[in-house]
């Protein structure tokens, strides 16, 4: 659930207000948006992905608000991690999209499990190969 908006980093561009699928934020006439409805947050991390100022932090707990402290979160080094590893904005080209490896992981898992004849389709297990 959305936990922090780092006001000293926020540029008040309001992209989070626009792109949050759960409409958690309200734009503010002056300065950073308000986290107006944190309980509606669906913990999808999209706001972090779209925030070029790395001013947002979503805690992984999806069902309850957790108290976090800005200094501790920043020291943890995970603010901005999602955007960086996704290769968005200034990170384009630095972190390649290797989503295509997923199907090889499932294939190797099937082989490791002694299922060398894992069919192309026909089991839910294989279907999960391409989804997750």
């Amino acid at each position: 659930m959305i936990s922090l908006l780092l006001t000293d980093r926020c540029t008040a561009c309001n992209v989070c207000v626009r792109i949050c699928p759960a409409n958690v934020f309200d734009a503010h006439p002056q300065g950073p948006p308000d986290i107006a409805r944190p309980g509606d947050c669906q913990t999808c991390f999209h706001c972090e992905l779209y925030c070029q100022a790395d001013a947002l932090y979503v805690a992984p707990e999806c069902d309850q608000a957790v108290e976090v402290e800005a200094g501790a979160v920043l020291a943890g080094g995970t603010v901005g991690q999602y955007r960086r590893h996704s290769g968005w904005h200034e990170w384009a080209g630095t972190y390649p999209n290797e989503q295509w490896l997923m199907e090889t992981v499932f294939r190797r898992a099937g082989e490791a499990a002694g299922k060398r004849d894992l069919p192309m389709v026909g089991t839910e297990g294989k279907m999960r190969t391409q989804q997750a």
């Binding site: 999209h46 999806c62 999602y82 499932f106 898992a109 299922k115 989804q131």
Partner: protein, 533 residues
């Protein structure tokens, strides 16, 4: 204040199905408006996942025949081979056309990979295409109800603008495509919060049938207290009970889900990903950048430490149920109303087993194209029409008796318990399903009789509650009627599949829920069956 607009084709829902529908309708020469509850680009389950499309090259032709044949066999009589070939072909030809907006990566072998896309980038690319081709995209514009002509054909929809003081919108159109997604019944399935079954409810109110609503028994692993339902790493997982005893879990698939559900009924289940190959560990953040977020933020070394897991229901999302489409163009039984993606029933392309990921993605793309194209043709062929439009929404908007405050949070919590509980929703039995039915009927009556969402903010919440309850009730009624086990539908009190149930089960109804077999047995067949037995 309500703003009114006119468009040729109105798309409700801005996930991948709605986006492809909008693209196709625009290509067919129609003006297109797409309304989305959240933001078209981040809303819906595709945006947070990594959809790999069902993908088989046309050459050699044998390859597709084998894949379709395997899927038909696994689908236990509910699949349709012609439809499977059709969506394989549409997906193969269409997905690469997104190359201007999506950078399809090159694999280690130097081949461009199209099938496996990353959700956030895929939806960002589709949004860029919509903006480029002139689709009018209205974010944060949830639809509340369909509008119809007096003859019942669909004339548009009405909803609210939730970032404009919940003022209203009304859009008139010659065709409406429902692409509002499926529902996971407010479970922790990643990205599914907006997916509350709204499109099912609106279709049923217009007179369309549902189908396959019993196929809602898929569950997905996530670290406990999180919604990170991304399963790749778990293909190498090892599970333990609280005493540290390793569990002899099946490697994958429904058997593993059922095993873990039984283990979770006994107590906490711990997981270790230490067996994940080292080269994959090193690249996990490049495959699925959101997966490590949970572990890193909790200070867990996912490759050494053991962590607790849970299972979230996938409902109709990795299930199959939805609005029954008729014919070849994804139209529903209601003139002017089309259904695409998870909003539509999918037994014909998936069979009785989960279409999760690959088949459902190919279906979302293909049904979007078909519905968008057909909706455009219909709308452009309609003459000018005048008359009084009727709002079709009832429950949550127009109570049948005195309006009063309804505790929607507790109504939703009750629904969620019934649909998430393993003994009710996964290991099904007549007794458990009957208990669910009673709970859900009582909740439905409370909402139907008293809830009145008004323009001041709670209309959306009331309608979401109504849609969730309606969907849960169709699911439970269908699971009761299918007194057998088939595919993902498991009845512990009827373990075998029955020959006469090798067909689709339709459902519908609002206050009075009904189910019926698509091809009811004739008297002669029944007589023959009796003679044989």
């Amino acid at each position: 204040m309500t703003t009114t607009a006119r468009t040729d084709v109105l798309i409700i829902g801005g996930g991948m199905a709605g986006a492809w529908a909008a693209i196709a309708a625009t290509q067919a020469g129609a003006s297109v408006t797409l309304v989305e509850k959240g933001y078209c680009g981040t809303s819906g389950v595709t945006a947070s996942a990594g959809p790999g499309h069902w993908w088989v090259p046309p050459d050699p032709p044998r390859a597709r025949q084998e894949v379709v044949g395997a899927r038909l066999r696994a689908g236990q009589g509910l699949g349709d081979g012609a439809w499977m070939h059709h969506i394989l072909d549409l997906t193969w030809r269409t997905l690469p056309t997104l190359a201007p907006e999506y950078r399809f990566p090159t694999t280690d072998d130097g081949v461009i990979n199209y099938r496996a896309v990353r959700g956030p980038e895929y939806m960002r690319a589709l949004r860029a295409r919509l903006d480029a081709v002139g689709v009018r995209v209205l974010d944060h514009h949830p639809a509340l109800e369909l509008l119809a002509w007096p003859d019942g054909s669909i004339a548009g929809a009405r909803g609210i603008r939730r970032q404009f003081g919940d003022s209203g919108w009304e859009i008139h159109a010659g065709a409406v495509v429902l692409a509002a997604g499926g529902t996971a019944f407010l479970s922790g399935l990643l990205g599914s919060r907006n997916n509350t079954g709204d499109g099912y409810l609106m279709a049923a109110e217009a007179g369309a049938d549902l189908s396959g609503m019993e196929f809602t028994a898929a569950f997905t692993i996530a670290p406990a207290r999180s919604n990170m339902t991304r399963t790749m790493s778990y293909s190498f997982a090892t599970y333990y009970d609280v005493d540290g005893q390793e569990l002899d879990s099946p490697a994958y698939g429904p058997a593993q889900t059922r095993f873990l559900a039984r283990a979770l009924q006994k107590g906490p289940v711990l997981c270790s990903l230490h067996r994940l190959p080292d080269d994959i560990k090193a690249r996990l953040h490049l495959i699925s950048p959101n997966v490590p977020l949970v572990f890193d933020r909790w200070g867990i070394d996912a490759f050494r430490d053991r962590f607790e897991i849970t299972l979230h229901t996938d409902g109709t999302i990795r299930g199959l149920g939805g609005v029954k489409t008729v014919g070849d163009d994804c139209e529903t039984a209601v003139p002017g109303l089309y259904a695409a993606g998870d909003n539509a029933a999918r037994e014909h392309v998936a069979g009785a087993i989960s279409g999760g990921g690959n088949v459902n993605s190919a279906w979302a793309l293909s049904s979007g194209l078909l519905a968008g194209r057909a909706g455009a043709a219909r709308s452009l062929g309609l003459g000018a029409r005048s008359g009084r439009l009727v709002g079709l929404g009832r429950v949550g908007l127009r109570p049948s008796a005195s309006a009063r405050a309804v505790d929607l949070a507790s109504v939703q919590a009750a629904m969620r318990r019934e649909m998430q509980d393993f003994d009710r929703a996964l290991f099904r039995s007549a007794d458990g399903l009957e208990a669910s039915r009673r709970t859900l009927d009582a909740a439905w009556e409370e909402v139907a009789v008293h809830a009145q969402g008004d323009a001041q903010g709670d209309a959306l919440k009331a309608r979401e509650a109504a849609a969730l309850l309606a969907t849960a009730r169709w699911s439970v009624a269908s699971a009761l009627a299918r007194q057998e086990s088939r595919g993902m539908h498991l009845r512990v009190d009827a373990a075998e599949a029955r020959d006469d149930f090798s067909q689709r089960l339709l459902s519908g109804g609002l206050d009075d829920v009904w189910t019926r077999w698509e091809k009811p047995a004739t008297r002669t067949q029944q007589a023959a069956a009796e003679v044989v037995s």
